[in-house]
């Protein structure tokens, strides 16, 4: 007779966290295959070891929570949030194993930093000697950022053979809330469909471009694939230490730019355009916000740098300024100037504009980070609404709206929740800036790096390095994680774990 007892919260969380880890173990087969293809035997062995560890960990967690399979209807919001937040932490450890075994990182902490940077599509690296990294490990780095952009939960949901009661709660827990189809699994499949179609188009365009600039066909393919994965997920990783500058090509940079701008858009917007609703691009509050802020930032930085005569012609201005500003605004983090050039040539004015655009970031429910254009647009419209209310007659009742895929009434609760999340980001950014200043970095440098971390951008002014203080590395990992999951899931997980520990302590005290 089957055991019909209700599964405990721990079993539910354990089962689905194990499921997500098992999915990642399967994904590790891809870099393993690349390593075998290029006869890189040592990296191949690293991946075999990592796959075994991931598989066993996932299996143990699923076995512990196997009761979940027969228990129905007890999946709560706290489970969804905790699974999303916890799986990211466990995966950070597991996915760091190939990095650490490769010898490109000097410590496990550095490896975990790089993994979190990849997952959160930040793009800052502590790995050394990138130019001599194996194809297999490069494939792994870029896959992590590509999967992180779409979301690990989204990935797991795509593979689920049937709809589960808790699917939507896990999906929201990962910082996504758009519903493209009536069921959440259909939405996850649509997100992957959009990404895979652009993967083919973008990799193809970069591959042809790579061949035209003199790369060998196989090398051009992998460079194209890696740059696409980084661009689309607004990650900013590159297989070369010179980042996008390695290619010395305006067309290569332009193709990457178009991909990362599209990648920073909301999946709901892609879906609406694909359904033939082309007006959405112009009407949507997020794209309106993005076009206005990015255009203004480009013009301001260009004007500021022209004053100092940093760049002499329009092409240099476009390639060095516009590229970097858009890379920062979309939270991609490809850099077409060296870190020191930001510090020495851009001046405080240029750096502060970059800080602002990095914090604003891309669209909600996209691969991008930052406050998100939606929240900036909502708060901006909220301010206008309040001013209009003040100026209008006391008896007039006007309903204010904003458009984001569909029309929404601009309610106080929406403005309030947007403002709270923005405030959380500002606090995270402020603490990061203070920490950098405490360790002796100039204030503008600390602010630049903190904005890059908080917005999951990846541009660096030179602060992020293997030699930076351990506490800063730990803070940066936490900040990237919090910002990517948009605080709520992590707070829920901490609250849930805290509550569990308190109950356990109370039980112990009673029994003693």
């Amino acid at each position: 007779m089957r055991n019909e007892r209700k599964a405990s919260s721990l079993e539910v969380i354990s089962y689905y966290t194990g499921y997500i880890i098992m999915c990642i173990a399967l994904i590790m087969l891809l870099p393993l295959m690349v390593s075998v293809f290029f006869k890189e035997w040592e990296p191949a062995l690293d991946f075999i070891i990592s796959i075994c560890i991931a598989f066993i960990s996932g299996l143990l967690l699923m076995m512990f929570g196997r009761q979940r399979r027969i228990a129905k209807g007890n999946f709560q919001w706290k489970h969804g949030f905790t699974i999303a937040a916890l799986s990211w932490i466990l995966l950070m450890f597991i996915c760091a194993i190939p990095y650490r075994l490769s010898g490109h990182n000097s410590s496990m902490l550095d490896s975990m930093f790089d993994v979190m940077s990849g997952f959160t599509t930040t793009g800052l690296v502590l790995s050394q000697d990138l130019d001599h990294m194996s194809y297999g490990l490069n494939m792994w780095r870029h896959l992590l950022t590509f999967i992180g952009g779409q979301g690990m939960v989204v990935l797991a949901l795509t593979f689920l053979t049937r709809e589960t009661g808790g699917a939507y709660k896990m999906y929201v827990g990962e910082g996504k809330d758009i519903e493209l189809t009536p069921n959440v699994r259909g939405t996850a499949v649509q997100i992957w469909k959009i990404s895979m179609v652009y993967l083919v188009i973008g990799t193809g365009a970069l591959w042809v471009n790579g061949i035209l600039i003199g790369l060998k066909p196989v090398s051009a393919f992998f460079h194209g694939l890696f740059i696409f994965e980084s661009s689309w997920s607004t990650g900013g990783f590159s297989s070369m230490s010179q980042n996008i500058m390695y290619y010395h090509s305006i067309t290569y940079e332009s193709v990457a730019m178009i991909i990362f701008i599209i990648g920073s858009f909301n999946f709901g917007l892609h879906y609406a355009l694909w359904q033939g609703n082309k007006k959405e691009m112009v009407k949507n509050i997020e794209t309106q916000s993005f076009f206005v802020t990015s255009f203004t930032a480009c013009v301001l930085v260009l004007a500021g740098l022209m004053k100092y005569g940093v760049y002499s012609d329009a092409v240099a201005g476009f390639r060095r300024v516009v590229f970097n500003v858009l890379s920062a605004h979309t939270t991609t983090g490809f850099g077409s100037v060296y870190a020191r050039q930001f510090a020495n040539e851009w001046g405080d004015f240029g750096i502060m504009i970059m800080v602002v655009v990095m914090l604003i970031g891309g669209s909600a429910c996209s691969t991008a980070g930052g406050f998100k254009g939606l929240r900036v647009g909502v708060v901006f419209k909220g301010i206008i609404m309040e001013v209009k209310k003040l100026l209008s007659s006391e008896h007039s009742m006007k309903v204010y709206k904003f458009h984001h895929i569909k029309d929404y009434i601009l309610e106080d609760s929406i403005i309030k929740s947007s403002a709270i999340i923005i405030l959380c980001y500002v606090v995270l950014f402020g603490a990061g800036t203070l920490l950098g200043a405490y360790y002796g970095y100039p204030l503008s440098h600390s602010a630049f790096e903190a904005a890059s971390i908080t917005g999951n951008v990846g541009l660096s002014i030179g602060v992020t390095a293997p030699s930076m203080p351990t506490l800063m590395k730990v803070y940066y990992i936490i900040a990237m994680y919090l910002a990517r999951l948009e605080f709520l899931s992590v707070f829920a997980m901490v609250g849930y774990l805290g509550g569990g520990i308190r109950k356990a302590c109370q039980k112990l005290l009673k029994s003693a």
């Binding site: 355009l273 480009c298 329009a314």
Partner: protein
Amino acid sequence: MDLNKNEIKGILEEIAMVSFFVAIIYLASTVIMM
């Protein structure tokens, strides 16, 4: 992966609109740098 006519049109329009935006910024940067 099946793509219908509408979806292909949507992809091309999305790429065209973003390219147009990049071109406008390029033009603006040219004007500023003159």
